[in-house]
Symmetry: C2
DNA sequence: GGCTCGATCCTAGCGCCGCTAGACAAGTGG
DNA sequence: CCACTTGTCTAGCGGCGCTAGGATCGAGCC
């Protein structure tokens, strides 16, 4: 069986290569430049090979999004763990979120802007996505206050962060004021 | 000169037809279905005619976005004018914004999700876009509080609303709770 | 060791996209 | 009546996502 196992390993390896290359290409030249032809050329296989791993381009985007979700969850947890006190924790969470989006624009796009064909709010939502939201929920802790359901609070807080990311990226919000916006958001929304 | 004037009128009329048809097609089948070929067929002209009015597809999307911005500005002003008291005004503004996005998904997408080639935060930002933000700013009035610049406050409030729209559309936030989220946003963010 | 056969991968191509060059008809001014 | 501008169309370019069908190659059996 060793031969089959080796083949499976190689296959999995190649799948990782595809996702990593797609991400790399997107980081260098944007998602528009990520075409199946270019991607195939970079991994030094022909186009149809991509389709033996993924149903189509959407699924490749989705794979990048899942990778990103896992990384974001880790980043959020690391940031909140290092913070001291409730307010600092919420602020660190917010900064960490914005920071992640700024450092990985194509990954963030894959997660929220592009169609990666991922189910979001259903039972078959992929685990990494659920976990990223869980990390958000943990970090916010009891900043929701007694009169508001924590999940609802997390949703609104998340929406605000996501809006900041989107509008900043669109060139609508000058980056210099980012810090002040985070302060405003944390000071007013969170009860800490 | 009458002949030339008539021609100009007809030309302007056809341009409106193009934009309206693009919007209609997007509303019926989504922006993916808005191709230059289909659009040309619907207006009963050939493809190149589109390019005598717009530089390309992006500009057509941009035109729909501008139309949408003007409508949104009007909707926001109407909603805030009808509201009584500062808190009601802010709440009406928020509901009106979300309502607009829900009623006109493709238009909202043209404004904020797609690339319409519009300059956003510079001196040559088209007037309708500036005006829409102005309407937002007016509606929020002095809900910013004394310690926060009104424009900065408007940006954050807007970002939160935009995030709610995006995440709701992505299926991430259940629509039933929309009202409660608006309440949370208004109660905490606005000082009224 | 030679052969069969299934897995694996590639070449070629389909239908569609955004966009444009160049032919052609219609209307205007001399 | 003719030259010419203006407006529109036909046809086609390069590139897209995706797939059918043929070639190749290595594993497993006699």
């Amino acid at each position: 069986m060793s031969v089959q196992e080796r083949k499976q390993r190689e296959r999995a390896e190649r799948e990782r290569l595809i996702v990593a290359t797609a991400r790399e290409l997107a980081a260098e030249q944007g998602w528009d430049a990520v075409t199946t032809r270019r991607l195939a050329e970079r991994i030094e296989y022909s186009q149809p090979v991509l389709y033996s791993h993924f149903r189509g381009k959407r699924e490749i985007i989705g794979a990048v999004a899942l990778e990103g979700a896992a990384e974001m969850a880790a980043a959020l947890r690391a940031a909140t763990a290092a913070a001291d006190g409730p307010r600092a924790r919420v602020a660190a969470l917010a900064r960490s979120y914005l920071d992640f989006a700024e450092r990985n624009p194509p990954v963030y796009d894959a997660m929220f802007q592009l169609d990666g064909g991922l189910a979001f709010a259903s039972e078959d939502t992929p685990a990494p996505l659920k976990d990223a939201f869980a990390a958000l929920l943990e970090g916010l802790g009891d900043a929701a206050g007694d009169d508001v359901h924590p999940a609802l609070f997390a949703e609104v807080f998340w929406a605000a962060l996501h809006g900041l990311v989107t509008l900043t990226r669109a060139g609508r919000l000058p980056p210099e004021e980012a810090e002040r916006r985070v302060d405003l958001l944390v000071d007013r929304l969170a009860l800490v």
